[in-house]
């Protein structure tokens, strides 16, 4: 929670409204004290009658749920909603936030033609906003030095009775008077000091609890409650009524967090960083500086000493790239850019090494589960939960989606069959809570079926490159050639002195190489051995930026970025990973059958930018509009510079909007192929070649002609 400061200034003190308000308020609360008895039960109980609670109640009743109890400790909208400045913003950072804000705007207009929506002026440099207010102005802002407070166990009045702190408000007042010097003659009405809720990543928290079914949360609005209120309430109401919202809300999903982000110290430090960012420019690839080094690989110190620069995902530190000793990077503030970043050459060298020699990337952050049973229960439940056929010979690895009823991706994993009754499942890092909750929800209560989160038990090293095979065979005294160790194969073997290393022939990049899943106590040993032996093969460390470039140039989609709960395997060319006829039903099969018959309404496409100057033009990052024959057809979901193609590659979904009605129509391969495409980067359109299949020449080191690891998941 934070102080937010509003200065209310007014030209005349005599005008009614504000002053009368407080007395009215106290009268109201006495009247409300003698309220009616609460019903013993209800279909929905909403705790909190601010803008979020009332919005959810409104939308639930619109959808036909009327048995709703809304609880509020004070008056309706008397919490932080009461102190909000009444500002609706229409330009948001995330797509889903934009949708919520747009919907809210429409809703408020519709609710009351005259809502008093006025223009507010935002001076982002001065961190302030200004608007008309009862004959005067109302101004507030988001200071650089927020003061966190925690409010558990405090009632509303206590929180609202925060004392005014003019010294704290001074920077905001100064920037107000610098922007509008005329205002200095205004009389001071009131300084309101009210707390706001903030979250560790500046996005609100929405969705069903992973542990208590039927318990939904909508909170942590990062002081944009009014902007999001309508839309957020609608999506949550849909979620409650239909079981899923009509939009992809993963970015806001409660389950992106776990218990690991709930430390008070972590929250305290992180929210102090988050709040000042509200009015800061959001630059690509920004990493939070506080609340770091929580989860680390055992190799962290080794890698850090070798120049690793880190990014954090779900609390886990992951190397971005390795700065060579002779190279200096820009200071953090100067490194903010939408253009070619300072790490370009560094990543290029790492990519080149992956292509020509061998690199090692620490990928320990992956979520790793083991599913084991005494009989066939594990296989049965996995066959039901996953779209690909998992009844494969022991030692095989299967790429498969974990789909919902609509056929959309809830998760995208690789599953290795360790033995008849045991499977090892690898998912993206931030799936740790969501995937666990999904599996638990669908797994039968059976003591003979065991699900275990083994994320912390293994350090994962990715050996990428044509010489990976040489390094590994030298360390294991075993032949590692494709004949002995075909692609997408998993075998426990010894590496160096360490036994029981799970070696998998896949790299999540389409490049040749191996993933090693190493019990953590062997991590340092195996890493040292790999680096020692690898020396003569030109081994070096690499980071996730190199990985990302490699996987995007090969058209590998990534869950959470390209894929989400509303995209199906058929929409991204992954028919081969769906076994509709595997002999048993699975979640999403019905929807996919239908989609197969009817065709898809959007199609995952790769774009190679033609006339883009990497050095001088703004780079694509994500969310750039895609134009086909001059018509808007969708947005990019991710992009990267391909050092091999020497071009930027963007991935994104192409829709087919009817020219008359705007309605979505079927997208065929023909439709994709017969268009002229442009990608719009900050208002400048660049020509792009659209491709539905990866560039085959990139797979220079094919292990076996028909067994290319054609598409993959957790890159980024």
């Amino acid at each position: 929670m934070f102080y937010r400061l509003l200065s209310v200034a007014r030209r005349q003190r005599t005008s009614p409204g504000w002053q009368n308000w407080s007395s009215m308020r106290s009268n109201m609360s006495t009247a409300e004290a003698q309220s009616i008895a609460l019903p013993a039960q209800a279909q929905v109980v909403i705790c909190g009658g601010g803008i979020m609670g009332t919005s959810v109640a409104y939308h639930l009743s619109k959808m036909g749920w009327t048995d709703i109890v809304l609880l509020e400790q004070g008056r309706l909208a008397a919490g932080s909603t009461r102190f909000c400045a009444g500002i609706l913003s229409t330009a948001r950072h995330l797509t889903i936030e934009q949708k919520m804000a747009d919907y809210s705007n429409k809703l408020y207009h519709q609710l009351e033609q005259e809502t008093g929506i006025q223009t507010a002026i935002v001076d982002a440099d001065g961190r302030i906003y200004i608007r008309n207010w009862q004959g005067g102005i109302l101004s507030g802002g988001f200071e650089k030095n927020p003061k966190p407070i925690f409010t558990e166990g405090k009632n509303q009045l206590e929180i609202q009775n925060l004392q005014e702190d003019w010294d704290h408000f001074e920077p905001l007042l100064s920037s107000l008077l610098r922007r509008m010097p005329e205002l200095e003659t205004l009389e001071i009405m009131k300084l309101v000091n009210c707390p706001e809720t903030f979250t560790p990543d500046m996005r609100c928290i929405m969705g069903e609890s992973p542990v208590v079914q039927g318990y939904f949360v909508l909170a942590g609005m990062n002081s944009a409650g009014l902007s999001f209120g309508g839309g957020a309430g609608k999506y949550l109401a849909e979620w409650m009524v239909h079981g899923y919202p009509s939009e992809n809300i993963w970015d806001l999903d409660l389950k992106r967090f776990g218990a690991l982000q709930s430390s008070r110290t972590f929250l305290r430090h992180r929210v102090m960083e988050v709040m000042p960012l509200i009015y800061d420019l959001k630059v690509p690839r920004w990493d939070f500086q506080t609340g770091r080094q929580l989860r680390t690989s055992p190799l962290y110190d080794r890698l850090d000493a070798q120049g690793a620069r880190w990014m954090e995902k779900h609390g886990f530190e992951r190397p971005k790239y390795f700065v060579p000793p002779d190279k200096d990077l820009l200071a953090l503030e100067q490194s903010k850019t939408f253009y070619k970043p300072d790490w370009f050459d560094i990543v290029e060298a790492e990519v080149k090494c992956c292509k020509e020699a061998v690199c090692v990337i620490d990928m320990s952050s992956f979520t790793k589960f083991e599913i084991t049973s005494t009989g066939d229960q594990a296989l049965e439940i996995l066959q039901y939960l996953f779209s690909n056929d998992l009844d494969v010979p022991v030692g095989h690895i299967v790429h498969t989606g974990m789909l919902n009823e609509g056929g959309g991706y809830e998760n995208d994993c690789s599953i290795a069959r360790l033995n008849k009754r045991s499977f090892f499942m690898i998912s993206p890092t931030d799936q740790q809570v969501h995937c666990w909750a999904w599996l638990k929800k669908h797994m039968p209560k059976d003591n003979n079926l065991l699900l275990e989160d083994v994320t912390w038990k293994y350090t994962a090293l990715n050996l990428i490159g044509p010489r990976a095979v040489d390094v590994l065979s030298e360390l294991s005294y075993a032949p590692m050639t494709p004949d002995h160790f075909p692609t997408l194969f998993c075998k426990e073997m010894s590496v160096g002195y360490a036994n029981g290393i799970r070696v998998m022939s896949m790299t999540h990049t389409g490049e040749p190489g191996f993933m090693l899943y190493i019990p953590i106590e062997y991590a340092l040993h195996v890493y040292n051995e790999v680096m020692n032996v690898g020396q003569k093969y030109g081994i070096r460390n690499a980071g996730y930026y190199a990985l990302r470039s490699l996987r995007i140039e090969k058209f590998f989609a990534f869950w959470g970025q390209d894929l989400n709960t509303l995209t199906t395997p058929l929409e991204c060319g992954r028919e081969s990973w769906v076994k509709l006829e595997k002999g048993m039903d699975f979640i999403g099969r019905e929807a996919l059958l239908q989609q197969k018959q009817n065709g898809v309404y959007k199609r995952f496409t790769m774009f190679i930018l033609d006339d883009h100057d990497t050095d001088l033009d703004l780079w694509p990052w994500w969310g750039e509009p895609i134009f086909r024959n001059g018509q808007y057809v969708g947005k990019t979901t991710s992009s990267a510079y391909s050092y091999t193609l020497e071009r930027h590659v963007c991935l994104g979904f192409v829709h087919n909007f009817s020219e008359d009605s705007g309605e979505e129509q079927v997208v065929t391969a023909d439709f994709i192929n017969r268009g002229e495409y442009e990608i719009d980067i900050a208002g400048h359109r660049f020509q792009a070649k659209a491709k539905l299949y990866p560039v085959t020449s990139l797979f220079a080191h094919k292990r076996r002609k028909d067994d290319v690891e054609l598409s993959d998941l957790h890159g980024k």
């Binding site: 005014e164 001074e170 007042l173 008077l177 003659t185």
Partner: protein, 530 residues
Amino acid sequence: MSSTVSCRILNSARNHLATFQGGRRLYSRCISNRNQSKWRLFSRVPLTLKNSSPCGGFALRKAYRHTSTEEEDFHLQLSPEQVNEVLRAGESAHKMIDLNSAVPNSVLRFESNQLAANSPVEDRRGVASCLQTSGLMFGIFDGHGGHACAQAVSERLFYYVAVSLMSHQTLEQMEGAMENMKPLLPILQWLKHPGDSIYKDVTSVHLDHLRVYWQELLDLHMEMGLSIEEALMYSFQRLDSDISLEIQAPLEDEVAKNLSLQVAFSGATACMAHVNGVHLHVANAGDCRAILGVQEDNGMWSCLPLTCDHNAWNPSELSRLKREHPESEDKTIIIDDRLLGVLMPCRAFGDVQLKWSKELQRNVLERGFDTEALNIYQFTPPHYYTPPYLTAKPEVTYHRLRPQDKFLVLASDGLWDMLGNEDVVRLVVGHLSKAGCHKPDLAQRPANLGLMQSLLLQRKASGLHAADQNAATHLIRHAIGSNEYGEMEPERLTAMLTLPEDLARMYRDDITVTVVYFNSDSIDAYYKGS
């Protein structure tokens, strides 16, 4: 995070040399005014340099990672925030909670802070409330020749006082519990700073000696326990004698033995206050000081000193020393304003070099201690004829608190070297009024935004805005950051805080300050009630 960051800054500040070339004038006052070390000839030899001989004056040694000689051109500028972090690292504050609402506490709250110059810091502090009797105790302990003695006194002294004050019945309960191996009654409630350390290894030995003390008290058969004056007087001397005896008695445990030796061969001055209702007792041995801030009815502030510094500038101490020793020693007992030419305070705990006979010192040390490893410097000052020369006997002052007594400041000489009594009262009063005007009153609020802004900017410029929440921090900031004219100089403050470890002690001493605020209303009520 804040603690780790401040540690980091503290270290980097200590380890690096500030902008020295241009800034030398900043220290002129300190250099000319101060004798840098309390122990002149007893300067400690850091462990890392076992074999070098001790040198006179201030020890300038290359014992730490970064020193002045290594990085002469290093410029380190601390931001105002970093300055604040360094200054605030040792802060602690406590608001008294009235457990018994019928009798409101006469102490409203206290604020404390500590800034090290020695590495490690040799000052200690303590705050605790007596659980078997009523009353709060505040102590400042300024160690010299190491921190061992100050540490021991800070841990143990309050127990001796608390036990001295106990009624016969309570003492019997304590003894009964010990005999039957039952849990003891709780004696003290410590109000500690999280960074304050504690010697854990030897507490059982200490408890044994405390028990011997209360057994002797039991033998006195005094129903109500000692008076506070007696309790303070006895406790100081008893603890000092225990410290002295512990090392003469054979000890089995190696750790305890070595520690006891370090405690006895280092020293500490002590100043403590006991507050119970309107009864304020201050006991002092050495050159720590306690003063009262008094506001008269006409609003004027004044200072009431509660202690006398026990050093060469105190005539009554001089005459005491002369009285206690033969006339032949009149000329040698104080040389260069130091006791026997070596020690600045003339009362202290420990320092058995100035208390024991030469034979006893030799006997004890010949029992096979590795004195070099233990950092003990065996030394007999010249003109050492009629020990003991040093005592821990305190001077006890009683003051009956009046409603006009607003606050008590206890501090080690590191503060008083830099600031006079009146300066300290003025700064605390200034701090209080600033804290008060932190919430502008609606009635006095500037009429418009422009005026408000200029007022706020003024406050910011005068540093009031960054106002130390803690009065002790405020005092330390001014002690080291004020120039000859008593004006705050930010550059000077930064320079003083970025002194390398080996130089810091030349310009300033360890500073420890505790400011205790009294509740005038409840003091008023005492008088009205009685």
